[in-house]
Symmetry: D2
Subunit: 361 residues, 4 copies
């Protein structure tokens, strides 16, 4: 099989590095293009990143000699890529939007892990196991912009990855989740590098992450929404309230969730069975990054734990535990997902695989 | 003023050590008696604890030469104490209850930080700022047992100290809190020593603490309850649901709270004013360990934090921050209390001070 | 190729669990026997360890249904194993020695990671890359005991793994290292589970590990020694002084080493070349757990680091960095090895592979 | 007694904040002046620092309303201060030197905790307990520059504070220390704020701190040196080699030290007695920040530890433990000092107290 050539915009940041690490031996994708800030343009990736490479594996051979391009200079990518991953770090949403639009206009499918275009009205925000059907918005988006081959798709924020799939699984099984109160304990890698200072994370937790609670509350409603007459209609029958905390964990976002069902209420064993039996629509597509099973329910009373469970399904599975009655709502549980894999680069790769399989690139 | 002589049962454990540290220069109390397991009996405290003292200050001079007694040998305390603090660690509730009863029967007021007698029907569970009136149960308790001078009072669990006072303040101001969903991020010192292994707390959090959620949900209902005709009547108009997590913090339990009010709903500034203006009934008593103010509201968007705020009011104040609208209930906030001070030994000392001032010892 | 059947003595402890994890897909060895304390005997491993399994991967399928045996009941192993790994935890050296001797007498090759027999005069202590020749002691040992097939071999302590190979490489190249002052920063997994308390490892380091400095100083002298006329002759031309510290790192022991050479002194680039070019005698044997290269020298000024480098060579490589002049001796450097892989179970497996290849089992 | 008015240059950085915290209730010094970068000039300290204050106590009342000045605008200080503390963070040494010189020229005694002027030939580098006699250099310095009242004094780097006093005590007692190999385990607060990233300090240590080893090796030689004919003569009879590591500890630098004596070698109990009996020349001066005793020797086998011992002497004492024979040199031990107190602001304050007592300001 001929492999797709992929580029990474923002290749020097943490998410970019994670893309490079995770794509090292990808069966469908080959990295052919790396772009970052103008300052780095013209330098070989291996040289530029010698002292900045943060991953816990050595820099893959295949990127050492790729010469970095200025991400603003879109012409350079001509003929080199079938798709780009947009993994910008700390720029303004406006600048990122401009840049992603420029690449889409230039003819490139853009898979974005940034938040800039998540609420753009004709840009789908996809969790492949939940709303692959929203990819139909691509056609509309292309038409709106008169784009020929290029388009933009996004993935939602890392903080909600652990609960969106379990909640969707229950909904798909016919149980309406009406209200959720969620408290997250989020890993420091979610803040990029250098991110939060060690002085703030030794013997401490910080009960605030800028912008994270809003994303955790609103993004699921678009993901769970519908497309009607070419327009997004957010799901408005679920209310989520989020408390987001930063904790001294390197990787893995944990969430404590209380949920209230509508009239039709499943019992504990039904819920666990729904999760364990959950087979997403994409199951049959054999996407390399799709974990199987998608959801792992742990019986031990003190799981999931970031250190022990974040690598399940190569960092793409959702682990859940501690399902029990909630004194205030119906049920409560704890869930976990790997924030830099499922929640960032891995999620982007799975989405790109879906695009490839659906012949959208 | 003549000082009270106090004893510590379980003097070698972590809570016992905290009592000794906090009582070092207490203006009203002098340590005159230390008891622990039979194995240690006959040894001087300073010698026994040479390699076991865990506090971050040197062992106080005043306990170095006190000879440890067998806690089971109650006769030994004869004439030596006006009050004992019961700070047992890992024994069964039944054994602790027996032991506390034995000391009470022997004529000693027992201030217990253990959970053994918290739900005993004639034993009050006191947060001095909330329900000092419940001390009237002492009279009934003495009568029930035909005890002359001895009695037992308890304090509630460390996990709920950060929210019980703020919620009570709101209720006192006329606003009914009907439902609360609480997620705690609890420090490792709450588990005693050695407590949780470092392997479980490096790059990890553990979403489970045995028995802690039940305590966090039910104990507030007794504290907020009433005594009618000599019987406890728990407050039954509030539902609490708790998720308790262990995080890699040495001291300081943080709680993320969402709360639903009854019909009468305060707005944000009213709530903050109620907390800031909160003056508990014990305010005028000038108890040495009573913090002033009781509640500190922090305006910074990322507070309270364990490391920066746990020492407020010498570890006895409650710090709160991040009051904001809750998407599901009415309001949400984050609160913090020092678990080994307010939540354990310090809370016990404050309670003993209250007893002293009320001439109950 | 027919696989060897191997047993694990002390299968429920941390080292035992690591053996099971690392042997999961081993090409030469199949686990056929698991033994632990009498209390666990008769229980299936999967059931017994349900809440005690500490590894960051799920328990391998192949051990779930193995029924645990009482380690003291050596008869049970009859016909079931070709070799046993002895991975005892906290027993006395004397008991461990008795037990290992019992298995050897019963006819089993015993590969021990415990310290009990390391200084027994006819028991070799092997680092395969350094002194595979010492395996000749097995013959003598068998003769001494009149053992037919069984024998005992040991591996040295985890704390010295990072520097013994680099120092040996220099010696082999003709440079005598005369004196070394070593300070280790050791991971908590080296202390087993539960090991050191989290209260001692949050915002703290502990400058003491019982027995570790002696091992770090004396064991290398046996490993570097010779066998003359059937007797061990320790290497007495090297003096090592060790400071051992426990630091809040999960895995990976780091060592800061200053070394003084004899008259013949290599310069910096010679040393680095010697390390990079180091080819141990076992190189050609294609042992599955032998890392290639054995030693990795990092040019970055702030490496090696436990988190980033411990997995090199699947946890079996030695990483070194920061070679520079020493103001007092000749050179100094920093080195790292993975304590639970190279320093414990992985090192034991490599040694067993060597025995297999040499047809000693 | 009339209090001295003191200013802080670099008042918004971490060292500046520590000065403010430690000076809150100082009996001799009142803060009257705070200067920082031009950007902050004109703003009240309390307002500017609202979200930047990093200390674990609330911002002292006495600085809330002090208006920050531009540190480059030296005229502003006219008539406002008797002495300034220079606590610059991240500027170049050259800029800091220029600035300190400007203030000295303007007539102000400058107590610097920066490294910029430490090796300036007529600037003394003082540890009050070791070389208070070096203050005679001030007279020469003033003469060199034709300065009337102003001058500059410095204190050495935080990394060497734990061993310079113990070594000096031995020398003073007549035992020559000839060689020392030192490995430090340094706290993250030594790197300022934000300093090292949490991603680098969770489950990790970093065996490198830029510039720190050179300082640890060379600065003691100036401190232990002599002034002859108005010129500094470094002590050249001691060789120090340092390995500096960053560890996940908030405060407190630990050092593991091996030392070789000259011909006259003390035994273990002599050394401990020398340390315990050490009475520095400044002992009789009753300087408020001078700890008494200066050195605390701990008998416990696992001390000193940062968390438990850094607060000894209000963070100004040196704690030592584990004195034992060194296999390579004569003796080895572990020592600790609080890096932001003794090693930075506290050390500066003690030096200023010495200047005040000696009537040099």
């Amino acid at each position: 099989m001929k492999k797709y050539k992929v580029g990474i915009l923002g290749a020097t940041g943490m998410v970019g590095q994670n893309y490079i690490k995770l794509l090292e031996d990808h069966p469908w994708f080959d990295i052919s293009y790396l772009a970052a800030s103008p300052r780095t343009a013209g330098e070989k990736y291996g040289r530029e990143m010698k002292d900045k490479w943060q991953m816990d594996v050595a820099m893959p051979e295949n990127v050492l000699n790729i010469v970095l391009e200025d991400v603003g200079n879109v012409e350079k990518i001509k003929g080199k890529c079938d798709l780009v991953f947009s993994s910008f770090g700390m720029n303004s949403d406006e600048k990122i939007r401009d840049c992603e639009n420029k690449y889409a206009k230039f003819g490139l499918p853009v898979v974005s892990s940034s938040s800039a275009n998540r609420h753009t009205k004709d840009v789908p925000m996809i969790v492949p196991e939940v709303n692959s059907g929203h990819l139909e918005m691509i056609k509309i988006q292309k038409k709106n912009h008169l784009w020929d081959k290029g388009f933009i798709v996004t993935k939602p924020n890392c903080s909600l990855q652990s609960y969106i799939i379990p909640v969707y699984a229950l909904m798909k099984a016919g149980y309406e989740v009406k209200k959720m109160i969620v408290t997250t304990l989020q890993a420091v890698s979610g803040g990029g590098y250098p991110g939060i200072a060690s002085l703030d994370m030794i013997d401490n937790v910080v009960p605030y992450i800028g912008g994270e609670e809003e994303k955790s509350e609103t993004e699921p409603l678009k993901v769970l929404g519908k497309i009607e007459n070419g327009n997004y209609k957010n799901f408005d029958d679920l209310k989520i309230s989020a408390h987001c905390n930063r904790v001294p964990v390197a990787d893995g976002h944990l969430a404590c969730v209380s949920m209230l069902f509508g009239k039709n209420k499943p019992n504990k064993s039904e819920i666990i069975n729904i999760w364990r039996d959950f087979r997403p629509d994409i199951q049959g597509l054999n996407l390399p990054f799709a974990p199987s099973p998608t959801i792992i329910y742990k019986e031990e009373e003190n799981r999931p734990q970031p250190k022990k469970d974040r690598q399940e399904g190569n960092g793409m599975a959702i682990t859940i535990g501690r399902l029990r009655e909630c004194n205030v709502f119906d049920h409560k549980f704890t869930c976990l997902s790997h924030n830099t894999i499922r929640g960032a680069a891995g999620g982007g790769i799975l989405l790109a695989e879906l695009l490839a399989k659906k012949r959208l690139i």
